[in-house]
Amino acid sequence: MKAAIVVFPGTNRERDMAIALRSVTGQAPAMVWHRDTALPAGLDLVVLPGGFSYGDYLRCGAMAAHAPIMAAIREFALKGGHILGVCNGFQILTEAQLLPGALLRNAALRFLSQDCFLRVERNDTPFTRHWSKGDVYRTPMAHGDGNYIAEAETIRMLEDTGRVAFRYVAENGRLDAGDPQLNPNGSMNAIAGVFSENLRICGMMPHPEDLVDPLMGGEDGKPLFTGLVEALVG
């Protein structure tokens, strides 16, 4: 799988993402600088990693959405390319309107760095094919602005068309969007990740890339990456 990671000034989880990708592909992903105007040829996957692009100034992801490289990313999306946005990458994808909705300050108004449990809402996508529908996996989260929100109509559309990728739940899969223990940032419908209409773009707040090695506490996040390799190369 040929992958590229886009680096903006202030991006800080590009190394974590590179390690995760390398662990499943055996090769280092290309690093693309925000001022570049083209992506490397023949890419299977573009990743927008976590961090504080442009210092989160103005609004998380708002300035990155207008970076020079974004034109090439839009074009890649239009052609049906696969894009994964994690944390700040998810925020950028919503600001760029490649995904619907927005991420507000966490409901408790504090940065949250802890493990959470995500339920896989469908497994017929390149991002989720190595899980079963309803599987619950553990993943670290680390963000101040992960509170997913969209207009009621948009939420309904996402729900009706199966575009919710992951939800925050209890370890046993129980969903309660009103419980801050289970839905720590207060997201609507406990949404942790969403898909684009064609299911080829996925944005999510937590960090599966930080849980791909038993040494770091587990491999719960690895199926996302092995699934992508199988889908995009196989």
């Binding site: 000034p9 210092g55 040494l215 770091m216």
Partner: protein, 736 residues
Amino acid sequence: MSAKAQRTVDEALAREFGLTAEEYGNVLSIMGRTPSFTELGIFSVMWSEHCSYKSSRAYLKTLPTTAPWVIHGPGENAGVVDIGNGLAAIFKMESHNHPSFIEPYQGAATGVGGILRDVFTMGARPVANLNALRFGDPNNPQTRRIVDGVVRGVGGYGNCVGVPTVGGEINFHPAYDGNPLVNAMTVGVARQDRIFLSAAAGVGNPVIYVGSKTGRDGIHGATMSSSEFDEDALAKRPTVQVGDPFVEKLLIEACLELMATDAIVAIQDMGAAGLTSSAVEMAGKGGVGIDLDLDHVPQRERGMTAYEMMLSESQERMLIVLRPDRTEQARAIFDKWELDFAVIGHLTDTGNIVIRHKGAVEAEIPLAPLADQAPVYRRPTAPAQKPQPMEPIIDPVGVEQALIRLIGCPDLASRAWVYNQYDSTVGGQTVRRPGAADAAIVKVEDTEIGLALTTDCTPRYCRANAKLGGAQAVAEAWRNITATGARPLAVTDNLNFGSPEKPEVMGQFVDAIAGMGEACRALDFPVVSGNVSLYNETRAPDGTSQSILPTPAIGGLGVLENVRQAVGLEMPDGCDVMLLGETKGQLGQSIWLREILGAQDGEPPELDLAAERRNGDFVRGLILDGTVIACHDVADGGVLVAVTEMVMAGQAGCVLDAPQSGMRPEAFWFGEDQSRYVVAVRDGQALATLAAQAGVPCRRLGRSGGEGLTLPSGSTISKARLLAVHSEFFPRLMDR
């Protein structure tokens, strides 16, 4: 300020700048004339306590600083030790106490930013942050505001720069009411053949300014940190610097990119006293002169004077001496990262620092006497007040009640509320996160090497007996590293004390250093970097001032050749839970005494450094050969708190035996005897045999398993109850 700049320079002005009459006399004799306003400013910050260490230097020299694995000890921006594979760990701890009282968020944030720069300026990529925080009485209404701001500030800066915050410690005590302590530690990793130092060299070489623009923030910050707060301390807010972690992140990447070339001759961050200290120290260490033209300094505000630019403590700035033929290559890197880059001067052979501004020479000072004739004081000392002897003990509550109270008390309650606001996983190398082991474990990327990191100090011991307390802080750091299986290598120290002009405080300082030195020598655990923060006093409305508890915070670093061998607190089912080290039941200065009887009496527990080393080396060997599966040192709260923490950290419970100790239950379970470890092993009998051979006292405490903690009385406290009690304190204090 420009009106002030017109003022006549005389002894009265010098005193306002924090210089004594005698120090001002020395300035006159060095200069051979009345100094200019800017020159006086430079002398006053370079000779401030903060920059010159004038009250502490004579004593710091007594600390051991060398070992075969030490590459650079004190004197550089940070300490450097060999961690194998041709790699070095570079680390230091530094205080930002005074600013954090005045403006908690920015004070803490810029504390983190400053220590990060000290580490990456030497060529290291920062891989971990830690901190040591002390706050006032939780019932004091100010405490909540300060905790909130400091925690947000530490997180706000560290999370944004993408360096994981992996460990730390927090204490509460009324002595910190008007003077919290914020000590920040950064650890970085560099190739041993790519370590950058600060001594300037090469007459004619260009002097480069990079990073943020210079503004009027933080002027005379170093002087502020060198005196006591008065009643209008909060009015000093304009002297607190404002940080921008986004620029810091860019600066880290740009500097590391430049450091991969051969362009740099010398580099230093602009920390306390800003451009003044970086220029003076770089040229001074290199034995050259330096000529700066301030017209070229990137400025954020209009109309800044030379004095203001030289004393500004604007953040995220570095000073670099480059090879002349590499200037354009370097400029291109900083352009890429959208940071200011300006040639502001060059090195000379005059031995002077010359400051030009708008065509005029604003300062010309000979560097050698500025450094060599900096004041050194051996201030008077007096013995500190001895603690009250302990009264005979009557336990009013019993073991179970006491345990519940202890694990919920401010000094022992769960810190999860705090560390869950710090990104501890960014970088993807965090093997043991906060709370999972006695020291945080961070893997060195692309190797099997692990770093074990901790910060430690027990201020209540230090107040009762500063020498013992200083030794205990070092020993506890060594013990916490040992308890993970790592080999302790070196420490950085952050010596926080009250006013050195109070003889009893100076006595505490001298004693604590003596104790630290003894422990460092006995444990082969040298000091490679550090920082001193004095004048930590709060003035009461009646004019009296109260000193903080003596707080020599120790940041320890250890190494594991194979990070996979590290152990944490979590026990599997079916292990024998054993106690290593001697138990005498010493309750003097213990948390139990304070929380249950409300007393802060008695001598702190004894510390036998030979036993410390013997017990620790024994435990470490058994961790590395796989015998010990989980390990926790016994510290605040004693054995029962240690076992309870192991239960709370994992799935398995524990069933405790009735100890045949011949001592009172509270003394056995809550005494804080030093140099002890609780370990989980498959075969306790075999461990006892090995321990006897090694001369290490060993006894069985019980067996892991079950749902909760079963006390010798037969009563079981469920894990859910333990966790509920343990995690109540911070949310109750902060989220109400």
